[in-house]
């Protein structure tokens, strides 16, 4: 509170410190990157970098769906279910109904849409809070999968159409297909949330729903749409996963729930006004993937990975919070 002797100078210092703190996450990330690179030469090899990026694709897609829901003021605990439904609908369509590869993709997307519609119905129509509504769908979706697979065994389909298999192993001009899909979805979400008029409305609803409504935005329609688009995006992740393994693995999607939440909030912490944003989420995903990969290469106990990611995450977020304190 005490005003310094020369406010101009103090202001500049404050601004630099604030900018550094805001980007503290990138600095921590850079430090980790350099550490891994020095520790193990293999980390920087093209093969390994490609590996990190390819391995990030599913988490990126799921996290983008999560970003949309968090931006409109909710949370989606059923992203894993949407992913699993995407995977299951596509595999079953091909195995049991001889669907061609593109019909299978559409079926997968429809599977995700069902989850999104259910969330939207609960949140918009029945006014259940997003947390509880999607938690309910999380439980129901898990149970449905176990019943459908008679206890949770995978449904494999080895004779995948080649085009479908290419979703996981193909490439475009030498760039792995998973990276292409990830970047494409990222680009679409960037345009949608950060550049389009829909994005402005989503953000307005997330920040102050009553003000958005009085400004003439059809908030219910947008919230519903947000849930459906988010779930369908997660289903893309499920389609990639099913092409990769040539099977549907029940409940596999739940692995991405916490990670996607982490990625979204890492991204929000980097934003000057602390709001969820697409590019921030992408950085969050890269961070999580890089830590996992780097620790693996170090040959550390696999079980340590989560603890270390957690510690690094908390440290970085503490800096981000310090930045916001500084502002006030």
């Amino acid at each position: 509170m005490s005003a310094a002797a020369s406010p101009g100078k103090a202001d500049t210092v404050m601004r630099v410190v604030e900018a550094l703190l805001r980007q503290s996450f990138l600095l921590v990330m850079l430090a980790c990157f350099l550490f891994f690179a020095f520790y193990n030469g293999a980390f920087l090899s093209l093969g390994n970098i490609t590996n990190i990026l390819e391995g990030s694709a599913i988490l990126l897609v799921v996290s983008l769906g999560m970003t949309l829901v968090v931006a409109q003021g909710g949370i989606d605990l059923s992203v894993g279910v949407a992913l699993d439904f995407g995977s299951a609908f596509a595999i079953v369509a091909m195995r049991d109904y001889d669907a061609t590869w593109y019909v299978a993709i559409l079926c997968g997307l429809a599977g995700g849409a069902i989850v999104g519609l259910l969330n939207a119905f609960l949140v918009v129509r029945l006014s259940v809070s997003p947390f509880l509504a999607t938690l309910g769908v999380f439980f129901i979706g898990g149970s449905v999968q176990r019943i459908f697979t008679h206890g949770g065994g995978p449904i494999s389909f080895r004779r995948l159409p080649l085009q479908y298999y290419d979703i996981a192993v193909g490439d475009v001009f030498g760039i792995p297909m998973k990276i292409v899909i990830g970047v494409a979805v990222l680009a679409v979400f960037y345009l949608l949330l950060e550049r389009s008029l829909f994005g402005k409305r989503f953000h307005a609803i997330g920040m102050q729903p009553s003000a958005a409504r009085i400004a003439g935005i059809a908030t219910n329609a947008y919230v519903a749409l947000g849930f459906v688009v988010a779930s369908m995006t997660c289903a893309i992740g499920g389609i990639i996963a099913s092409a990769n393994l040539r099977m549907f693995t029940p409940l596999a999607g739940n692995a991405y729930l916490m990670q996607s939440i982490a990625a979204v909030f890492i991204g929000a912490s980097m934003h000057p006004r602390g709001r969820p944003n697409v590019l921030g989420t992408a950085v969050g995903v890269l961070f999580l993937s890089m830590i996992a990969n780097g620790l693996n290469l170090m040959g550390l106990d696999f079980n340590l990975k989560d603890a270390l990611s957690g510690i690094i995450l908390v440290v970085a977020l503490v800096f981000a919070i310090a930045q916001r304190r500084l502002k006030h």
Binding site: A204, Q208, G216, R273
Partner: protein, 508 residues
Amino acid sequence: MTEPTGHILQMSGITKIFPGVVALDNANLAVREGHIHGLVGENGAGKSTIIKVLAGVYGRDAGEVVIDGAAMAAMTPAHVHAAGIRFIHQELHLVPHFTVAESVFMGQELQGWFGIKSRAMAEAAETFLKETLNAEIRGTTLIRDLGVAQRKLVQIARALIDNKARIVVFDEPTAPLASREIDQLFEAIARLKARGISMVYVSHYLGEITSICDQVTVFRNGRDVGVIEAIGPQDTGRMINMMVGRDISDLYPAKAHAPAAALLRVEALGDHKHFDNIDLEIRRGEIVGVAGLIGSGREELVDTIYGLRQPAAGRMLIDGKPVRLASPAAAVKQGIVLVPRDRRQDGLVLGMTVADNVNLASLEDVSRAYLINRPAAAKRADALAAKLDIRPRNVDTVARLLSGGNQQKVVLARWLATGSRLFILDEPTVGVDIGAKVEIYRLIERLAGDGAAVIVSSSDPNELIGLCDRIVVMLRGSIVANVDTATTSLDALIALTTGGELHEGAVA
């Protein structure tokens, strides 16, 4: 320095600098013993800062505080309390499930051999409330069972119970009170004055200042710009001019607009709960006021016309065609827009920039293929900000940082951008500085002049008479009068809104 006799409090040359802002710049405040001293100024003029310096909440960067002839070197809240200064804050700070006695004696409970003497405290609190404040409140009543006015009195009793108060500072004490309750508070204040207690009275309501204060200090831009001795109702205009720093010959613009054809007709509208059988017609180029106390159905009617609530009976016609507005989005499509009463909650998205707020309802106009054309969006927001003189002029400022008046202009700018036909303005100038108020009134007049229909719903009768062509008065869910403002006096309007008599249940 020289010290005129009879001053119990003298603050001189007070300067307070926050990073980047000079909140107080060589400001002075002197209070005579036994007098009620008013303190007025626009938001941000430095009133609350100097009060907080006096309270010891803020340290001062320069200046001197003399209380009863003794210079205060160190000022902590404890020192200030020991010097006999008490503060009646705007917020009540009472615990709802404490009794009146517990609240009054909080921190100075009467102790006996066997702990706290509840019975004695209850009796003492009752006696004190009765004798000092003329209030009949039982000491054993729970705070949560009291009305706002009674809570205010308990708050005052708590500040005075130790009988060591010499100066009492009231900060906007009447803000939550209804007019009858205000009279009760003023009576209590008069009793305190009779006991020789000096008071500082901070308020936005100039009518209160002129009726109870002995002198007034006017603040502007962090300093005192003048003291008015022997203040009376005749000084109101002078006070306003001092506050805004320029001559405001007339608060309300001349009515130059001319009503034309009907735009909106409301027929037998009702929700069977808050209002019923409402017939209303608004013409283009007409400003219609809606008066009514809290609970008269005025707020609900306005919300229903905007599609925020659904009617149970009756219908609405726009240009003679029946419409059903299922949501605000539907209303906006019809060119009906609302400037809501709760600006910070409903009016604008505080976390977004001014530009985003201005463009929020008409993003299509600044977009191509659904993507926002950023330069075009910034340009339009800039133009509207300039037209309405929104400050700061930088449209990348986050809306939260704007003053109330400028926030209100942002909401209006948003609706100007959509080319609206019917403006519903609910309490358009609540929490707005006088300077901005005048600008908003001019803007409303210009809207009507340009052919828009305007509904002004307000609890300020002056505003309704000054601004509107006619006023419909609501009472207990019905329209009880539809009067021409040219032939209606302030007193007549107030009598109509209150049903011609004081009635129960009109508590704010």
